[in-house]
Amino acid sequence: MSKFKKKKSGDLPAISTASLPDIVFMLLFFFMVATVMRQNTLKVQNSLPAADQVEKLDKKDLVMYIYVGKPSSNYQSKYGTEARIQLNDKFADVDDIAAFIQAERASKREELVPFLTTSLKVDSDANMGIVTDIKQELRKVNALKINYTTRKGDALAGLKD
C-alpha cells in the first residue's frame, strides 16, 4: 500500500482555446486602426529614393500628391516607358498640374490653403528634367511648399556609380 497514488498517465487535458478569439480580435482591432486605405491607385512604378535628413509630413488632409514614374507594366503598351506624371487616378501632362492645384485648393477651406504642401513622389529612376518641369509649373501657380517624399534610409547606399 503506497501513500502516493500514481497519477494516471496518458490522456493529456486539452488546451483551452476559448481565449483564442480574444487574441485574434485584439490583433484585428490593431490592424483596423492602423490601416490607411490607399487614396489613389498607382499607375506608375514608384520606388522612392532614400534619405536620412527627413521631416515627417503630418496633416494628411493638407497634402497634394504628384506621382512620377514609368507606367506600370500593364500600361506600358499604351503609354510607353518614359516617365509620366500621375494626378489623382489619371496620367497627366505637365500642363495639367496648374488645374490640379487649383482644384485641390478649391476643395479646401480658404484659411487652410496657405498650409497646403505638395508631395512629390518621384521614382528614383526618373530624370531631373520632368521634376524640374513640375517645379516650374508649381512656381507659376505659387504652390511653393514642396516635399520630396523619400524612404528613410542611407541616401548614399542605393546609388550606383
Binding site: 492602423a34 509630413l57 528614383s124 511653393l144
Partner: protein
Amino acid sequence: MAKRSAPEVNAGSMADIAFLLLIFFLVTTTIETDSGLSRKLPPMEEQEEDVIIKEKNIFQINVNRNNELLLKTGGEEKLLNIKDLRAEAVKFLDNGGGTGEDACKRCKGNKNPKSSDNFQKAVVSLQSDRATKYDTYIAVQNEVIAAYNQLRNREFKRDFPGEDMSFVEAEKRYNDPRTSSSEKDKLKEKLEKIKLLIPQKFSEAEPKKSN
C-alpha cells in the same frame, strides 16, 4: 409548458471569422511612409534685381548627366565623390574667412580667405542636368541638408546646453502634436535664433538643356 433553457450558441467558429477579417486587414494595410525632404521653391517674381555675391561665398555643385559631381568653390574646380560632399560642405560653411564686420566668431573652420566669410554670407548653389537621375539629386540635397543640420546641432548645443538635445531633436519635438504649447513657444524662440544664425541659403539654377 415547462421552462426550456435556451441552447448555447456555439462560439467555436468565432476564431475563424476573426482570422478571416484579420488576414484581410493585414493584406490591405500599408503603413504610410510620408516623410521626406521639405523645401521651399522661390517665387516666380522678383527676379529683376540681380544680387551680387562674392565668388568666394558660393559653393557651386554641378551634377552632370552621368551623375558625376563637379564642385566649384574658392577659385578651384574639382570632381567630387558624393561621399565627400557632406564634409566639404561643412568645411565651406564653417570656414569663417571674413574679416572686419564680416568676421565669424562662431566658425571653427580653418579661416581660408578664399572660402566663405560667415554663415550668413555662404550660399550653396546646385545645378543639375535634365538627364540627371532623381536619386542622385535627392542624395545631393540630403547631404547639403545634413551639413546644415550638423552645424545647427553644434550651435544649438552650444547656446542651449540646458536643453540636452540637438537642433534636429528640438525641431522634431516642436512639430510633435503631443508637446505642450508652453514648451512649443519656448522651443520656437530657440529654433528661430539658430535658424537666423545659420540660414539655409540654397539656390537652384534652372537646369541646362542636354543635347
